[in-house]
C-alpha cells in the first residue's frame, strides 16, 4: 500500500504536509525535547523562588486566599530585622555554624591526610565508617544523641561523672576538670554546644571524603620532589598538601556555610521543635518555619528566607575572597 502511495508522488521527497516533527528545518522540535527540564525547573524552581520574593513584600494570610495579599513594601524586612527573636536566631545560627563548622574542617583535613597516608587495604572501610553518619536519617541521629545526652541515664553523663568521681586515696583527682554530678544538657548554656556537636559529628565524614578525594589527585611527584628538596612530613603537609587542597577547601567550606546557615532538622528535633529553653537552640531556619507555619505569617517568613539567602551569598563571596582564586 505504502509503495503505491510513494510511487504516485515520485519526486516529492518528504512531503511538506507530511510529518510535522520530521520536517526539515523544523525549529520547534528541539525545544520540545529539552522542555521537560525547563518545565520542571519552572514549576518547582523558578516559580517558588520568584513567588517568595514577591511574597516578601506583602502581608498575606494564606487561609484567606490569593486575593488577600496586601502590598507592604519593605515592612516585612524591617519587622524581621527589629524582631528580637529573629536576631537571636541569627546569633544562634552563627554560633552553631562556627562551633560545628570550624572543628569539622580542622579535623577533616588531618584525618583525610592520615587515612590517605596510613591505610591502603582498609581505606574504603574506614572511609565508609566515617561516612555512615552522613547517610543516616537526621531524626535517628538526633534521637540517639538526645538519649546520650539525657540527664539521668545518658551515657555522656555517666562517662563524665565517673571520671569526675574517679578517686585515688579518697581524693577525686579529676574533679577539677570533669563534673561530679549529672549535667542537665537541656539548659540553655549547653543547647548550642549539643547541637553543634551533633552537626559536627555528622558532617566530619562527609568533609573527610571530600578532602580525601582531593588528596588523591595530588601528584606523587610533588611529594617526591619535596622529599628530595628536604621537606619533612610536616613541611610536605604545609607546603604541598595544604595549598593543593585549597580549591577543595573552598568548595567544602562553601557547602558548610550553606548547610550550616540553613540548619533545621538537628536543632528542631533536639529541642523538640520549640527552640529549647530561652530559644537557645532556635536557628534562623527554624524561626522562619515557625513564622510561616505556626504563626501563618508567610510574608515575613519569605523576607527572612531572602535575608538568609543574602547572608549566605555574602559569606560565600567572602569565602571566595579567602580561599577561592585557584592556582591552576
Amino acid at each position: 500500500m505504502n509503495s503505491i502511495t510513494s510511487q504516485s508522488v515520485p519526486h516529492k521527497a518528504p512531503a511538506k504536509k507530511g510529518n510535522f516533527w520530521l520536517r526539515k528545518g523544523n525549529k520547534i522540535a528541539p525545544y520540545f525535547f529539552i522542555s521537560p527540564f525547563f518545565i520542571i525547573f519552572g514549576v518547582f524552581g523558578l516559580f517558588p523562588l520568584l513567588f517568595s520574593l514577591y511574597l516578601s513584600f506583602h502581608y498575606w494570610e494564606p487561609a484567606a486566599g490569593l486575593a488577600a495579599m496586601e502590598w507592604v513594601g519593605l515592612e516585612n524586612y524591617i519587622f524581621a530585622f527589629q524582631d528580637d527573636w529573629f536576631q537571636k536566631s541569627i546569633y544562634n545560627t552563627g554560633v552553631i555554624a562556627l562551633k560545628s563548622g570550624i572543628p569539622q574542617h580542622a579535623l577533616a583535613i588531618p584525618l583525610a591526610f592520615f587515612i590517605h597516608t596510613s591505610f591502603t587495604r582498609w581505606r574504603n572501610t574506614v572511609i565508609g565508617v566515617y561516612f555512615i553518619p552522613y547517610i543516616t536519617s537526621t531524626v535517628a541521629i538526633s534521637l540517639v544523641f538526645t538519649t546520650l545526652f539525657s540527664r539521668d541515664f545518658g551515657m555522656v553523663n555517666q562517662v563524665l561523672t565517673s571520671l569526675g568521681n574517679f578517686t585515688i586515696a579518697d581524693m577525686k583527682v579529676l574533679s577539677w576538670i570533669f563534673p561530679v554530678e549529672n549535667i542537665d544538657w537541656t539548659r540553655p548554656e549547653y543547647t548550642k554546644d549539643m547541637i553543634s556537636f551533633v552537626v559536627f559529628w555528622r558532617y566530619v565524614g562527609w568533609n573527610t571524603v571530600l578532602y580525601l578525594s582531593a588528596l588523591q589527585t595530588i601528584p606523587r611527584d610533588l611529594y617526591e620532589a619535596a622529599i628530595i628538596d628536604g621537606a619533612n612530613r610536616y613541611q610536605q603537609f604545609r607546603y604541598v598538601t595544604l595549598p593543593m587542597l585549597k580549591p577543595m577547601a573552598f568548595f567544602a567550606v562553601t557547602l558548610t556555610i550553606i548547610g550550616n546557615l540553613q540548619l533545621f532538622e538537628e536543632p528542631f528535633i533536639i529541642t523538640g521543635g520549640t527552640g529549647g529553653i530561652d530559644q537557645a537552640g532556635k536557628t534562623a531556619a527554624m524561626h522562619m518555619y515557625i513564622t510561616a507555619f505556626v504563626e501563618s505569617d508567610f510574608g515575613t517568613a519569605s523576607a527572612i528566607s531572602w535575608i538568609l539567602f543574602m547572608i549566605i551569598a555574602g559569606l560565600t563571596w567572602l569565602n571566595h575572597k579567602v580561599l577561592g582564586g585557584s592556582n591552576h
Binding site: P219, D221, L222, E224, A225, A226, I227, I228, D229, G230, A231, N232, Q235, Y239, V240, P243, M244, K246, N327, H328
Partner: protein, 349 residues
C-alpha cells in the same frame, strides 16, 4: 662531585624481580645515560639511587659513602622529574629556593644562590611567575634550576625532555650539555630516546628487563654492540639481522661457518649502498641483489624496504634515489657486518 657505585643492586616488587644485580661504576663528573625500552627498570634504578624507593638487595655508594639507608636529603642528590613536579602555588623564585629554605640557608645567601642560578638559566625575568604562566621549556629550566641551586653531588634526570616538542628538545639537550660542562657534576640521565643518549652521554648503559646489556661510549655502543638486543635497539632504522641457516646468505656475505659458528648476521641500513663507489675502505665491495618493495622519504634521507631471500631488509640512502624499482644491487663493506652466536652475543673477529 662524587662517584657513584652500584654493586649487585636489585629490586623486586613482591616476587617479581624488576632490577636484577646491577653492577656499575660511575666516575665523578661523568655523564651517564641509562637507556632502555619502556618498563626495563630505568626509573626504578634512578629512584633507588635517589632514595625514593627502597632497595631489595645490593649496595649503593655515593663517593665513599654507603647510602642504602640514608634519607634522600642526606644523599645530596637533586632530581629533575619528567613532569617537572614544580610546586604550582609557588613562584619560580620560591620553587628554586624551597630546598634552601628547608636546609635553613640564611635568607641573604639564599637570595644570592637563587639569583645566580636564575641568571645562568635565563630565568631572571620570570622569577615572580607561577609555573602555570610558563612555557614548557621554561618550566623545564625551572626544574633544572631547582636541582642546581643546591650544588648537589649527583644530578638525576628522569626523562626530563619527553614532554617537549622536538625542536625544544634539541635546544634543551644543548643546554643540559652546556650545564654539565659548566658545573662538572656527575649526571645520571634516564631516557628511552637514543638521540638524547648519543648526544649527551659520556657513557651509555643499555638496560633490558632489569639487566645491563652493555656499557660503553656512544661510539662503542653503536659500532660494537655486544649482542643482538643492543644492535637492534641502537640505530634507526634498526640493524638488518639475518639467519645464517640459508647457504645463499652465507655465500653473499662471505661468511665462513668456521670455528665461531655464527648463527645470525647483521648489517646497518646505513652501510648498504646503491652505488659501488660509495663503499669506502675496501678495494672490492661485496654485494647482494634484492627486490625493492617500498620506499619512504624522510626529508634528507630515504628508507628503502627490500625483499632478500624471504627476509626484509632496509637501506638508508640519500633522498634523491627516488626511482629505484625492481631488482637492485646493494654494495657493502664486508668488515661492517656483525656476527652473532647462538646466544645472540657478538662474535668478535
Amino acid at each position: 662531585m662524587a662517584s657513584v657505585q652500584f654493586s649487585n643492586l636489585a629490586k623486586s616488587y613482591g616476587d617479581t624481580p624488576i632490577v636484577k644485580e646491577i653492577n656499575l661504576d660511575i666516575d665523578h663528573g661523568e655523564f651517564i645515560v641509562l637507556l632502555g625500552p619502556s618498563g626495563c627498570g630505568k626509573s626504578t634504578t634512578l629512584r633507588m639511587l635517589a632514595g625514593l624507593e627502597s632497595i631489595s638487595g645490593g649496595d649503593i655508594y655515593i663517593g665513599e659513602e654507603l647510602v642504602n639507608d640514608l634519607h634522600p636529603i642526606e644523599r645530596n642528590i637533586a632530581m629533575v622529574f619528567q613532569s617537572y613536579a614544580l610546586y604550582p602555588h609557588m613562584t619560580v623564585e620560591q620553587n628554586i629556593g624551597f630546598s634552601l629554605e628547608n636546609l635553613k640557608v640564611e635568607k641573604a645567601e639564599r637570595i644570592k644562590l637563587v639569583t645566580n642560578v636564575a641568571e645562568m638559566l635565563e630565568l631572571t625575568p620570570l622569577l615572580d611567575r607561577k609555573p602555570k604562566d610558563l612555557s614548557g621549556g621554561q618550566r623545564q629550566r625551572v626544574a633544572m634550576g631547582r636541582a642546581m641551586v643546591r650544588s648537589p653531588e649527583v644530578f638525576l634526570f628522569d626523562e626530563p625532555l619527553s614532554n617537549l616538542d622536538a625542536k625544544l628538545r634539541g635546544q634543551m639537550r644543548k643546554e643540559i650539555k652546556a650545564m654539565h660542562k659548566k658545573v662538572q657534576t656527575t649526571v645520571i640521565y634516564v631516557t628511552h630516546d637514543q638521540v638524547e643518549a648519543m648526544t649527551l652521554a659520556d657513557r651509555i648503559v643499555i638496560l633490558n628487563e632489569g639487566k645491563i646489556e652493555q656499557i660503553g661510549t656512544p661510539k662503542q655502543i653503536f659500532d660494537q654492540p655486544k649482542n643482538t638486543f643492543v644492535a637492534k635497539f641502537i640505530g634507526a632504522p634498526a640493524m638488518n639481522i639475518f639467519n645464517l641457516s640459508n647457504p645463499k646468505i652465507q655465500h653473499d656475505f662471505g661468511v665462513s661457518m668456521g670455528e665461531h659458528n655464527p648463527v645470525l648476521l647483521g648489517i646497518r641500513p646505513q652501510y648498504l649502498y646503491l652505488n659501488e663507489n660509495e663503499v669506502k675502505g675496501v678495494e672490492k665491495a661485496a654485494f647482494v641483489d634484492v627486490e625493492v618493495i617500498s620506499s619512504e622519504l624522510l626529508g634528507a634521507s630515504r628508507h628503502i624496504k627490500c625483499k632478500y631471500q624471504d627476509q626484509t631488509l632496509v637501506v638508508e640512502t640519500a633522498s634523491h634515489d627516488a626511482t629505484v624499482k625492481g631488482i637492485v644491487r646493494l654494495y657493502f663493506n664486508n668488515t661492517q657486518i656483525h656476527l652473532f652466536d647462538e646466544n645472540n652475543n657478538t662474535i668478535t673477529h
